[in-house]
Symmetry: C2
Subunit: 347 residues, 2 copies
């Protein structure tokens, strides 16, 4: 460990018999036609032989950019979606030779403020402020000192660029898919948590119904209190036990769908023979393993992560074109992942 000293630019200059300037110019591709090919080759050879790589701190200090981007998230530890979002962000950062600084705040506002400070201390080129669940947020002021975009989150006023899932379109598509299979009594097992996801999916659900000439029946909507498996179970049970039982269930998420499966089983019914189900999230740990495997709307976590840093990097390059008066509010589509929980209605 720490064996021999890392070579410096002066080492390669010495070995190539040129000045520091020449080395820097050549290695940064700014030599152009000014420096003879032979010299350039000599410099490159020397650099390669020594295994020279510029010190990012020195270079960053001088160029006033760190080749670093910050991702500030809220609860990485407790959501299985985090990885995909981070992967998308990283891939985009990496594509520009940048490295990703990650800090997770656990929704602690105090810690969050300190995290932003720390990121700015390190002079990150840009920041991505992320939530693990689509949310309306009021991010710490500091992030505005630098190009910033909101990931799976947006401000109430839309004064910062953001990328979120197109919840309404997804719900609309789910209803359309079910209607396309012939269902006319399509229930919505929603969460009572009044976030953008619940609100916008409800809207999409309603739009979907009317687009297919189906009446919106309040009895076809059941709310699960916590958005978890038991609450999905309970909500589905109410739906199944009501009169005019639905033939299809659109569930707020895969966990609730898992509860719905249980309710259906308990009532001696079968998926999809008696009841069709469409979930939401495409949770890798659940959806493929349910019996039968669950058809569900996929949240575009990877794509959102990627979009966020691509956009924030674009802001960095061309503030004029990419930072118009109105910050971009991007909605990414949620593809339908077809498995085996939907069939034609029997009743």
């Amino acid at each position: 460990m720490g064996t021999r000293r890392r070579p410096l630019i002066r080492d390669v200059a010495g070995r190539a018999g040129v000045s520091l300037t020449t080395v820097s110019l050549v290695l940064n591709g700014k030599a152009g036609a000014n420096i003879p090919a032979e010299t350039q080759a000599r410099v490159r050879a020397a650099a390669k032989e020594l295994g020279y790589r510029p010190n990012a701190m020195a270079r960053g200090l001088r160029r006033q950019r760190s080749d670093t981007i910050a991702v500030i998230s809220d609860e990485i530890a407790t959501t299985p979606f985090a990885g995909a979002m981070l992967q998308g962000a990283q891939d985009a950062a990496w594509a520009t030779g940048r490295v990703m600084l990650l800090v997770n705040t656990g929704r602690d506002v105090n810690l969050e403020a300190r995290a932003v400070e720390a990121m700015l201390d390190h002079h990150v080129d840009a920041v991505v402020y992320a939530r693990m669940h689509h949310e309306v947020v009021d991010p710490p002021a500091g992030i505005r000192d630098v190009p910033a975009v909101l990931l799976d989150a947006r401000t109430a006023s839309g004064d910062l660029p953001s990328v979120v899932p197109d919840e309404a379109a997804a719900a609309f598509a789910a209803v359309g898919y079910l209607a396309g299979h012939g269902h006319r009594r399509i229930a919505f097992v929603n969460t009572s948590d009044p976030g953008p996801a619940a609100i916008e999916r409800l809207e999409g659900y309603r739009l979907g119904l009317s687009a297919h000439g189906l009446a919106a029946d309040p009895a076809m909507i059941a709310l699960g209190d916590y958005g978890d498996t038991p609450s999905g179970f309970a909500a589905a049970l109410r739906l199944l036990d009501g009169d005019n039982r639905p033939t299809a269930l659109f569930c707020f998420n895969d966990r609730m769908a898992m509860g719905a499966y249980r309710a259906i089983l308990l009532r001696g019914l079968r998926v999809p023979d008696d009841i069709s189900i469409v979930g939401f999230d495409n949770m890798e740990q659940i959806a493929p393993w349910l019996d039968p495997p669950l058809t569900t709307m996929q949240l575009p976590h990877y794509e959102m992560g990627r979009w966020a840093v691509e956009h924030v990097l674009a802001m960095l390059d061309g503030p004029s074109t990419v930072t118009p008066r109105l910050p971009m509010q991007m909605r990414l589509p949620c593809p339908l992942v077809e498995r085996r929980s939907v069939g034609p209605p029997t009743a």
Copy 2:
């Protein structure tokens, strides 16, 4: 964005009417008794009023440390454990005022090599080389240029410090727990993937059996090919259909346990009345939601992440004491999470 210039140390020196030296000394707590309290107060006030914070790149360049640690992982996007590991790593880094550079390689050796280079370019103070599943690895040589520890991974020779779950102890404990409930025919639904987890758990299982005076019956071990739900289902089915059916199943992971539940249900049996089950992983998305909720061994992801950076940071501070001839090979315990899938045997 980019509104007003970030204040520099010279700004606070100007405002406080002292030299840069004095400001630096005071702000870094190296003023001691040399600088009168009054002056110190003036400096601090000036710094606060201006909102001064040192430029981490400049400071890093000068001090030859970046206050940064690198985490290099393999497949963050596809495993729900990633978050907890990263959270543990971050918390430990954060506790020392350091920030975490994350790069995920997708198990691409080429990318991995480049990632290490990039991290070293940024002069990270230390690197944590992580796997999402306990594995024997041969990490890129570059990480040895800096204090490094392996997270949820180890080298064949043990020449790098590492932290992994104590697989054998966990399996031993699981068998003990089952035996404590009176079970004597305890089967092991293992994975056929020959990693350290499978091997060491098998060992622990055998030790557990003999510690409780139970015979090791080869017919009590079934292998699932992929370690997923269907393979758990199939393996459990074989066990249930064999003669001398087990009264308890210890499963390699929660996904396989989920498959086992299905097999048990299919055979008209019940958990835990007819068959008790202990899983592994404590997957938040599965274990609590199974019916009945699954008793399982928890993988200490958070703790491992935390230990890894704490240890690597300790190496940084006191190489002599913490980097003995033999790099530390840490095994962290996997606590048993008691839920409702285990009861006394009936048969």
